[in-house]
C-alpha cells in the first residue's frame, strides 16, 4: 500500500445508508407464475395475477412490463402499468396492499393483425414498505412472471447447438450454447454423454434439466452441473438435444489437464 493511498483512506469518513432498519420482515406472493398462450391473429385473452401481502406492513405495489419481442442494442423496451404496450396492458387494483390483503392485477393480451411468431414479455410486480417512501431508503422486492403468446400457425422452431465449454472437471461443469434462430421461445432438453476418446460411454447428464428458455433470435449458455468428475485425460462430450420436434446432435473432444 503506497503512502498516497493511505492518506486518502484515513480521511475517508463516509456514511453509508444502504438499508433502512425496520426490524421486521415484509414480502408478498404472486400467482400464477408463468403464462403461455397460443392465439390466432387478432385473438385476445384477459387474465389476472393475484398478489397478496403476507406480512404486517402496508406495501406500495407497482408493476412494469419488459417487452421482449426485439432487443435494441441488447436491451428490451420497458413500460410501466400506466403506459403499457399495444398488445399487452396491465391494470392494478391499487397502489397499496394492507397486511393480509390480496388484489388482482388484470392483464389483457391482444394479438395485432399480421403478427408472426411470438409476443413475449416479462411482467415485474414490485413491492416495498409504504413507509420507506418517506425515508427514501429501502429495499424492493420483486417477482417476475413471463407471458409468452405464440401466434398460432406462424411458429418457426429452429435451433442450433453452439459452443461446448468444459468449465470444470471436478465437479463436472459444462456450458452449452444454444442458438434459437426461430421465432418462438424454445426449452431444449436432452442428454450429454461423456465418453472416452475411444468412444466408450462413461456416464450421461441431463441437458437443461430445469427447462430454461432460449428466446427467439438469441443464444443462451445452458449450464450443466454434476457431482461426476473427470480424471486427467481426453474425452468426447456428445450432446443430443430435442427442441420442437427436431433432434440436434453435436460432439466435441475435450482434454482434462
Amino acid at each position: 500500500m503506497n503512502k498516497k493511498i493511505s492518506v486518502v483512506l484515513f480521511i475517508a469518513l463516509v456514511t453509508i445508508s444502504l438499508i433502512f432498519d425496520k426490524g421486521a420482515a415484509y414480502g408478498f406472493t404472486v400467482s400464477p407464475t408463468k403464462i403461455e398462450l397460443s392465439l390466432a391473429s387478432k385473438g385476445a385473452y384477459t387474465g389476472a395475477f393475484t398478489i397478496r401481502n403476507t406480512e404486517k406492513y402496508t406495501l406500495s405495489v407497482s408493476a412494469r412490463i419488459e417487452d421482449r419481442r426485439k432487443a435494441v442494442e441488447g436491451k428490451y423496451a420497458e413500460a410501466d402499468e400506466a403506459d403499457n404496450f399495444d398488445w399487452l396492458t396491465l391494470k392494478l387494483p391499487s397502489s397499496e396492499l394492507k397486511p393480509d390483503e390480496a388484489g388482482d392485477i388484470i392483464f389483457s393480451v391482444e394479438v395485432p393483425e399480421g403478427a408472426v411468431g411470438e409476443l413475449n414479455a416479462m411482467i415485474f410486480i414490485e413491492a416495498k414498505p409504504k413507509e420507506a417512501d418517506v425515508g427514501a431508503i429501502g429495499i424492493n422486492t420483486s417477482i417476475g412472471v413471463p407471458i409468452y403468446v405464440m401466434v398460432a400457425g406462424t411458429e418457426l422452431f429452429q435451433a442450433e447447438i453452439g459452443d461446448i465449454q468444459l468449465k470444470s472437471s471436478s465437479p463436472l461443469e459444462l456450458y452449452v450454447t444454444v442458438k434459437n434462430s426461430g421465432n418462438v421461445h424454445i426449452r431444449p432438453e436432452g442428454n450429454i454423454a461423456i465418453k472416452t476418446k475411444e468412444g466408450k460411454g462413461l456416464f450421461k447428464v441431463p441437458l437443461n434439466e430445469y427447462s430454461y428458455p432460449v428466446l427467439p433470435d438469441s443464444s443462451r449458455e445452458l449450464e450443466v452441473r454434476s457431482e461426476k468428475t473427470l480424471e486427467t485425460g481426453e474425452y468426447i462430450v456428445e450432446i443430443e438435444m430435442e427442441s420442437g420436434d427436431k433432434i440436434y446432435k453435436k460432439s466435441k473432444e475435450v482434454q482434462v489437464f
Partner: protein, 245 residues
C-alpha cells in the same frame, strides 16, 4: 377437420385440468392457454443492516453489512433470485447524496459463492484480497479455474485461502473441497446492465438447481472506500427479485 378435432380436444382438456386456466374474452379466438398456478413468494428480513458512519485505513478499507435474510417459495421451474440496484442513470452501486456524480461499487456474498457460512462462521473476510479479487493459483493467466489437485499452500502464498483465520494450511484445493480462483465478493449490477435470458449479466443469489434455505438465507454486502469522496452514500432501490422464465 382433423385439426379442429385436435383443437376441440385441447379446449376440453384445459377446462377440466385444474392447473390450467381459461379466461378468453367474448371476441377471442383463443386456442390454448397454459397458466401455471401456484404462489411464488419473496420476503426480506430487514433486521439491522447498515454500514453506518465509517472511516478507513490502509489495512481496514473494506466494510460489510448484513445479513439480510431472504425467504422465498418458487412455484414453478425455472426460477432465479437475483439482486440489483435500480439507480437513476443506471449508476452502479451506492450514490453520493451531496455529490451525486460520485458512487461506490457494491459487492454481495451469499452461500452459493462459497465457502459456506456454516463453514466460516461469519461472512468472508472482506480484507482478504483473494476473496475480493480472486487469485490465479495455477498461473495460467486467468482466474476461472477450479483447483482440485491439492496444490494450494497457504504457507507459500502467504494468505488465508480457506478462511479459517490463519495462513498455515497446505494441500488445499482437493476433489472433495475444491478451491475456485474467482472472487467470492461479487459486484451488484444495476438493472440497466441486465439482459433478459442472459444470466451472465445478472447477479444470481440462488436458482433452480442451486437452491438456498427457502426459510431465510443470509446475504451480506461489502464496499471498498479506498479513495472515495467523504459524504453520505446510499441507494433507494436495492432489489431482491425472484424471476420465473
Amino acid at each position: 377437420m382433423k385439426r379442429l378435432k385436435v383443437i376441440a380436444a385441447w379446449m376440453l382438456l384445459l377446462f377440466f385440468v385444474p392447473q390450467y386456466g381459461f379466461a378468453a374474452t367474448t371476441a377471442t379466438i383463443t386456442i390454448m392457454a397454459n397458466v401455471l398456478l401456484g404462489e411464488s413468494s419473496i420476503a426480506v428480513d430487514l433486521a439491522l443492516v447498515n454500514f453506518g458512519t465509517i472511516s478507513g485505513s490502509a489495512t481496514d478499507r473494506r466494510f460489510t453489512a448484513g445479513p439480510v435474510k431472504i425467504s422465498y417459495f418458487a412455484a414453478s421451474n425455472p426460477w432465479t433470485i437475483r439482486v440489483y440496484t435500480a439507480n437513476p442513470g443506471d449508476v452502479v452501486g451506492l450514490i453520493g447524496v451531496t455529490d451525486t456524480t460520485k458512487s461506490i461499487p457494491l459487492k454481495v456474498w451469499c452461500d452459493n459463492y462459497g465457502p459456506r457460512l456454516n463453514v466460516l462462521g461469519h461472512a468472508p473476510n472482506e480484507e482478504n484480497t483473494y476473496y475480493w479479487s480472486g487469485y490465479d493459483f495455477n498461473n495460467d493467466g486467468d482466474k476461472q479455474d477450479v483447483i482440485t489437485d491439492g496444490s494450494i499452500s497457504e504457507v507459500d502464498l502467504g494468505f488465508d485461502v480457506n478462511g479459517d483465520g490463519d495462513a498455515l494450511d497446505t494441500g488445499l484445493g482437493t476433489a472433495s473441497i475444491p478451491v475456485t480462483e474467482d472472487p467470492i465478493w461479487l459486484r451488484v449490477p444495476d438493472d440497466g446492465e441486465m439482459v433478459s435470458g442472459q444470466p451472465y449479466t445478472w447477479r444470481r443469489l440462488a436458482y433452480s438447481g442451486a437452491d438456498l434455505d427457502s426459510t431465510g438465507f443470509p446475504v451480506f454486502f461489502a464496499i471498498d472506500i479506498t479513495g472515495i469522496t467523504p459524504q453520505q452514500y446510499r441507494t433507494n432501490n436495492l432489489t431482491f427479485q425472484i424471476i420465473h422464465e
